[in-house]
Structure formats: C-alpha cells, structure tokens
C-alpha cells in the first residue's frame, strides 16, 4: 500500500508503547470496558483491535443491557415448543420445520435512527440488512413486511420521514423481487424524532440447505464477496482515520449508508447458486460491525481460529485505515468459508453473476483471530472475547413514580369517557374512528410495494396476516403478522407485551394458520433510565411468559434502545412477529365478506367488557391512562385453534380479529374489504355482556373475532363453539344489496361515506 497515510499500529508496537493515548471514549467504550480489553489481551489493544472491540461491544451488537433479560426467551421453553425448531436464538435467524422437508426462517430487525437521519436510505438499507440475514441461513427470501411508526401525522417533519421511509422500503424491496405482504403504520407524537422502521424478512429452504455462520475445516478459504468496502457507517468524522492518534485530524467518512438493491439482488441469486451446489461450508452476512463481526463470529463458532490479510479487502476508498476497514458497514457484502477443492466452482459462480470477491485468508485451529496488514500483525485476539464475551450490565430498573397515577387515570372517568356518543351519534363515531390516522386505509403506503412478485402471495395487507405459498405442489405455506400496541405497553408493559403477542397470534390464526414461531423487535428508550429499563424488563417478562403459555417459541429478534429525544422516551414498543403454518394456503381466510357471501350469518366470538383504556377511541380523544385490556392467553389459544379448524373445515368464509378500534373497526374493515355491507344488531350481545352499545363497539377486549358463516354451516359452527365452551353470538348478516354498515336501530352508515373517510386520510396528508 504505497498510498498509506498513517503509521501502522502493530501488535508489536502496542506491546512496546503501553501508554499511548487511545480514543476509546470517542469510540463509545466505557473506561471499565477499555480496562477489560487490556486485561483480556494482557496489553493495550492496537488501533485495529480497539476498533473491533468497540463495535462488537456496542449496545447494538453485544446486547449488553438487554441480554440478562433476553435469557428468559431461552429459559421459558418446553421440549414441545422446541420440537419444530431447527435453529434457535443466537444464529442470524431462527429456523422452523414446517413439514414436507421444508424449513422457514424469519426475523425482524430495526433500522430506526438511520431512518430519521436519511429516511430513504435508512429504510432501504434496513430492508437490505434483514434480507441478508435470511440469505445467510441458506434460504431464499420470499417476502418482507414493515411495521412503521411515525410522529404525529400533522407535524411538518412527518411528511419528510413518511415519504422517504415508504419510498425507501419500496425502492429496495421492490427491486429485490420480494413481495411486501403486510406490516403496520402507526402515527404518534412519541415517535416524532424517533421513527421506528422495523423490517421483517422470511425465507424458505429445504432442510438439507440450512447454513450456519461458522468457519470450520483448517485450511479452508475465508472469502469476502459482493460490494466493495467503503467508509460507510463509520461516522461523519472518523477518529480512526489517523492510526497514530497524534495528529487528530478526522477525515471525511460517509454519514449515511447508501443501499444498492441491484447488487443485493445479484448477491441473493449468487448465494442461492452457491448453496445449491454446496460450495460453501459456512456463510455470514456483513451488517453492523462489518468484517469485525463476520470474522470474529465465524471463527468463534467454528474451529476457533482464522488468519486474515486485510490488505486483500477490495476497497471503494483507498484511504481507509485497517481499523476503519474492520468497522465499515458497507452494504451488500457476504463472507464465506470455502474448501480449496470448491474454489474453482466458487469462482465460476462469482464470474457468472459478475460478483467481485477476494480471498482474505484461511481457517486455522490456533484459537486466535489473527489479522495482518502488509505482512505485519495488527490483530491477535481470541475471537470469542470479541464476539461473545462482551460486557453484561444489570441496569438498575424501577417502576416509574408516575405509573400508579397513570393507571388510576381511567378513560371512563375522564371528561371524554363520560361524554360518550349514543344512538345515532354512534354512526358518526364509527366514521370518525375509521378516518383516524391509525385506523384509516394504509393503501397509500402499501400500493407503493409490490405484493405480487414471485406469484405465491395468497394474502397481503389489508388482511389480518400475509400468506405466502412455500410448496407449489401441495400448497403448503406460511402466514405472518406483526403487531405491537405501544399504548397498552405504556400503561402496563407486562400486560401490553402480552397483548401484542396475543394480537399477532390471533391475526395468524384468523387467516387460517397454526401459529408456530415468534420473532420480536423490542424498541425502547434509554436503558440508562431506570423507568425505561423497567418497561423493558417487564415487556420481556411478559413476552417470555406469554410465549410459554401459548407454546410458541421465540426464534430470534432484535433490540433497539436509546429511542428517545432528551428525557422523552418513545412508548415501549415491543413488536411481535408471529409465523403460522398452513397446509394449503388456498384455504386462507380473507378478512372481509365478498358479494357471494350475501346472507351469510355474522358471528361475534368472545365477550366484551368496559376496556377502553389505551384504546383507539381514547387516543382519538387525546387520552392515555388506565389499564390495558386483560389478556387471557388460554382463551386466545382456544380461539386460535377454533379459527384454524373452522377455516380448514370450511365453516367460515371470512373472519377478522378484533383489536385496535374494537368491534366497530372490525365490522367496518370487513365491509370495506370488498365493499359489501352488513346488518348488525347490537342489543342482545350488549345485554348479555352487560355493556352499553358504545362500549360494545369501541372497547378493545381481547380474545374476539367476527366470522362470516354460510347458512349451511351454522349448526357445525355453533356446535364447535359450544363444545369448546367459547362465547359466541349471532350479531347479524352479510348484506350485499344495501351498501351500508347498518347498526340496526342505532345508525346506518353508507359504505361510500365510510370508504371516503377511511381512504382519504393518508392522501390528504401525503399527496
């Protein structure tokens, strides 16, 4: 490297210069962490080693504040829950056996902060990152989903973020040929400077194609392939640009990572060809912490050693220092371990797809990760100390002082709660609710995503879950739903997290699939705030307990902390992604009634209590207080089981779960799905449950769903409910003649009026 502008900090040099000032604080390390590194190495780290430890020991990579809590996901499981789990937490993504020799891997991740700084590229690279996680398991990605949370819909900056994020998710995902099958869009002032961009990807593979991130087989080649390495993700000004640290002149590095979906699409096809021909022994995607992460994880999960020559890395920017190369988060790169015998075939496949690659080094059994630069050793570490032995913190947490007061502030006792609409006003209330930013049509967003590509999409937004076919021969497929209710979680993080889990479970079951696995994306404020840490601890405990009760394991996920501006944290937002299995996706249940269902009976499953705290109606009235609806997971399990069986046995033509907005939103959604009305009688059920009509319509009691039941199936339907002891009530009929949601004796809402209100909101704000 003739253009080298820096003095190389070698291991030998580090030994002889123990007192050199190192920028550990600027790299985000705490003093105790820096001391630990010195203890591990028995000397000061070199600049390159410091770079590696600092990124791998960051909150993002090491989960140092969260892992003491996350352990519960591994502990609260039964053998029964693990039965279909082929790869569990800890790998790039979990893998579940769905039968017929097929396996499915899925994972949800956050790309929150980058999406605030540069919404388009932040969202785009978020999609890119999660898709690479899926490829690195050996799977073909088959769909993506995106739960998005933005600030107040009428805030001037929300425009910028929404346009950028939606275009970025679409621009990247559409270019990869991955159908976008659902997600969420929420607007709440708490996300104003902290939008949440979570991205889920799902992939499928045959059992024998599962690949893991490990480097085994001494002498096997370690290869970096895909895009070239630039200064991406190092930060606008890099303290590592000068390795000698004496002339502190930070050089310019990109503040934003730019995604290249074309390069990623080529990388997908190229990797699938590598898998098909069994050319790679181990594979790892490069995401956060780039080469630092890939080399240390591959080495510590395999034979324990690796020798790499960093000068072999193909660069986009020749001024990068070794430390920067190790930290770079340039997108669209992968690392593979290949036997010498397979090298010829590997090169052939790279050439076919015009993918650049370079052999960086090989696997050793030395137990050391050794990295050289120009013949000099600049890193010599035990890879486990980098990848796995990062710090662990038991952050203090305590129930916030104001929590009791918050919970005591019941909606029903508030001014808005006492002034509840009744009679004919209820019709207007339904329209008002359906036009609200959080219940209105999300078509403005989802019409910017390709839901058709790959030809296997059986359900997508706005139905309860996205459903894709996996096996074209049998129709075997999977259903996916993502859900969070941050307002419930704010009121009670333990119960609120369970409610998110219950809703995701219910959504998947309503679509007709048997829920089998969970991935979660836990978005919270600063772990250094004991109030936030309490929210986190409670939410994790709720999810782990809930998964145990439902018998569905957590297969992986992601934690995003520090989502706060100043002292103001976002509402705790545990996003739950649930995957379900269907033997034949053509039997999926749509969320609304079709014209052909005219005269079908409409049944409401479950019972309604006065549970308006944290509800959408309360949000509309500017109220957040009280306790979230009670979650009974045994009932949810029973309901889910019934919905799956009813779908399989042809007892229902359509079904929609009740969640945000309660019965009112569920009925409106179901009518608007295909523009077919319904005649509903509320009186009997209201009397049975001891609530007024307003409460019946807008309360968000859990464990409920509406079903469209053909007349010929009513007996079987009722028999099943009776046999299972699940509350049910016939509340009306599908009416394809009068285009209205007719709440009989109360109000009749013309569908045209409802649709106009429902579909007009997002275009009104975003064009």
């Amino acid at each position: 490297m003739s253009e080298q502008q820096f003095n190389l900090d070698t291991v030998d040099h580090a030994r002889t210069t123990p007192d050199t000032d190192l920028p550990w604080a600027e790299l985000g390390l705490k003093e105790n962490e820096f001391e630990d590194i010195k203890k591990i190495l028995g000397r000061r780290p070199t600049a390159a080693e410091l770079a590696m430890y600092s990124v791998m020991w960051s909150e993002h990579c090491s989960y140092k504040s969260s892992k003491v809590h996350l352990k519960q996901f591994g502990a609260k499981v039964t053998d029964e829950m693990k039965k279909d789990l082929m790869v569990g937490i800890g790998e790039n993504a979990g893998v579940t056996d769905i039968g017929n020799g097929w396996a499915v891997t899925f994972k949800i991740e956050s790309h929150n902060h980058p999406s605030y700084v540069e919404p388009y590229q932040g969202a785009a690279t978020g999609v890119g990152g999660i898709v690479r996680d899926i490829i690195s398991m050996g799977a073909r990605p088959v769909a993506v989903m995106d739960p998005l949370r933005f600030g107040a819909i009428d805030h001037p900056d929300t425009q910028r973020v929404v346009h950028g994020v939606v275009a970025g998710v679409g621009g990247y995902g559409n270019s990869l040929g991955l159908p976008n099958i659902g997600g969420e869009v929420e607007f709440d002032a708490c996300y104003q400077a902290n939008p949440l961009v979570n991205a889920l990807a799902v992939g499928v593979m045959r059992h024998e194609d599962i690949r893991l991130a490990n480097a085994s087989g001494v002498g096997n080649k370690v290869i970096l392939f895909g895009a070239r390495t630039g200064g991406d993700g190092i930060g606008g000004a890099s303290v590592l640009a000068s390795e000698s640290f004496d002339d502190a002149k930070p050089s310019k590095r990109p503040a934003v990572q730019v995604g290249d979906p074309f390069a990623e699409k080529v990388l997908i096809e190229c990797c699938l060809e590598l898998f098909k021909d069994s050319v790679v022994e181990g594979i790892q995607d490069l995401g956060a912490a780039g080469i630092s992460c890939a080399t240390s994880e591959l080495a510590s999960n395999g034979d324990g050693g690796m020798h790499v020559d960093l000068t072999k890395v193909l660069l986009r920017d020749s001024t990068l220092t070794p430390g920067e190369i190790l930290m770079s988060e340039s997108q669209e790169r992968m690392m593979a371990v290949v036997t010498p015998a397979n090298m010829a075939r590997f090169e052939e496949i790279m050439d076919k797809w015009d993918v650049e690659y370079s052999v960086l080094g090989e696997v050793t059994d030395s137990g050391r990760l050794v990295i050289e630069w120009d013949g000099e050793i600049i890193v010599d570490v035990d890879p486990k100390t980098v990848a796995h032995d990062g710090p662990t913190y038991e952050r203090p947490y305590s129930r916030p002082a104001g929590q009791d007061a918050t919970q005591a502030d019941r909606f029903s006792e508030s001014a808005a709660g006492r002034d509840r609409p009744a009679g004919a006003e209820l019709g207007k209330a339904v329209v008002e609710l359906m036009a609200s930013p959080n219940l209105c049509s999300k078509e403005w967003v989802t019409d910017q995503y390709d839901r058709y590509v790959q030809g296997n999409t059986a359900l997508s937004q706005p139905d309860d879950a996205g459903v894709v076919r996996v096996d074209e021969e049998t129709g075997l497929g999977v259903a996916l739903a993502t859900d969070a209710n941050p307002r419930y979680a704010y009121l009670d993080p333990y119960e609120g997290a369970k409610a998110s889990l219950a809703e995701a479970y219910r959504n998947v079951a309503t679509a007709g699939a048997r829920p089998v696995a969970v991935s979660d994306c836990l978005n919270f404020g600063s772990p250094e705030d004991p109030d936030v840490m309490w929210q986190f601890a409670e939410a994790v405990r709720g999810l782990a307990d809930g998964c145990m009760e439902l018998g569905v394991p957590v297969t992986g996920g992601n934690v995003s902390l520090y989502n706060q501006t100043g002292g103001q944290a976002i509402n705790p937002t545990p996003v739950v992604a649930m995957m379900g299995v269907m033997d034949d996706v053509t039997r999926r249940t749509p969320s609304g009634w079709a014209p052909t269902e005219d005269g079908n009976a409409i049944y409401l499953l479950g019972t309604t209590a006065d549970e308006l705290d944290g509800s959408e109606w309360a949000r509309l009235k500017g109220h957040l207080g009280g306790r979230p609806p009670r979650v009974d997971l045994a009932q949810e399990k029973l309901l889910g089981d019934m919905l799956v069986n009813m779908s399989r046995d042809g007892m229902i033509d359509a079904a929609h779960d009740l969640s945000q907005g309660g019965l009112a939103a569920a009925l409106a959604d179901a009518c608007l799905r295909f523009g077919v009305g319904a005649r509903i009688g509320l009186g009997e059920v209201a009397e049975r449950d001891g609530v007024d009509e307003f409460t019946l319509l807008f309360s968000e009691s859990q464990g409920r769903a509406v079903c469209s039941v053909p007349r010929t199936e009513e007996v079987r339907f009722k028999d099943m409910c009776t046999a299972r002891g699940y509350a049910f009530a016939r509340i009306g009929v599908v009416d394809a003649v009068n285009d209205a949601l007719d709440l009989q004796g109360v109000a009749s809402v013309p569908l045209a009026e409802l649709r106009e209100a429902w579909s007009g909101t997002l275009p009104k704000y975003f064009g």
Binding site: E118, R253, P254, V256, V258, Q331
Partner: protein
C-alpha cells in the same frame, strides 16, 4: 431566456450504485478507457431578463435546500448557461 445551471453530484465518499453499474457496462460495448463513472444531476433554472447575482444566489439556495440532499449529495456547480 437565460438559464442557470445547477449540477449536483453524489458526495465522493458515498456509494453511487448507478455510476458503478454504468462503469461495468462500458467495457461490454467496447469502451475500456474509463476507471470510474459517477452519475449526477443537472438542473436548468430559467430566469427573466439578465442573470443577476441575486438570481445566482437564489439558485445556490435552491441547490442547497431543495435540489440536493446535503446528507448524500454536493452542489458542485452553479453557473450561467452558455448558449
């Protein structure tokens, strides 16, 4: 009508996927002299009458505030079009 040209380029340190794809295609059509391609944008802003310093100043502001995304792009040229 006189026009003001505003040229916007991706920042040098930022990945330019479009330029990269074009650079790789050039040899395939027999052009192998170029070591790198970067693709930018050219804007033409038309004004009435003579181009004044105020016009240029407004064009510079347009470049910084709207035509470029300062996070990933630079305005590399603001000048009067030579017709």
């Amino acid at each position: 009508m006189p026009r003001i040209i505003v040229d916007v380029m991706p920042k040098p340190e930022i990945l330019d996927p479009q330029g990269k794809a074009i650079a790789r295609e050039l040899p395939h059509i027999g052009l192998s002299s170029f070591t790198e391609v970067r693709q930018g944008k050219r804007f033409e802003l038309t004004v009435e009458g003579e181009v004044t310093e105020r016009h240029l100043e407004e064009a510079r502001r347009a470049g910084e505030e709207l035509l470029s995304n300062p996070v990933i792009e630079d305005v590399v040229n603001v000048s009067v079009a030579e017709d």
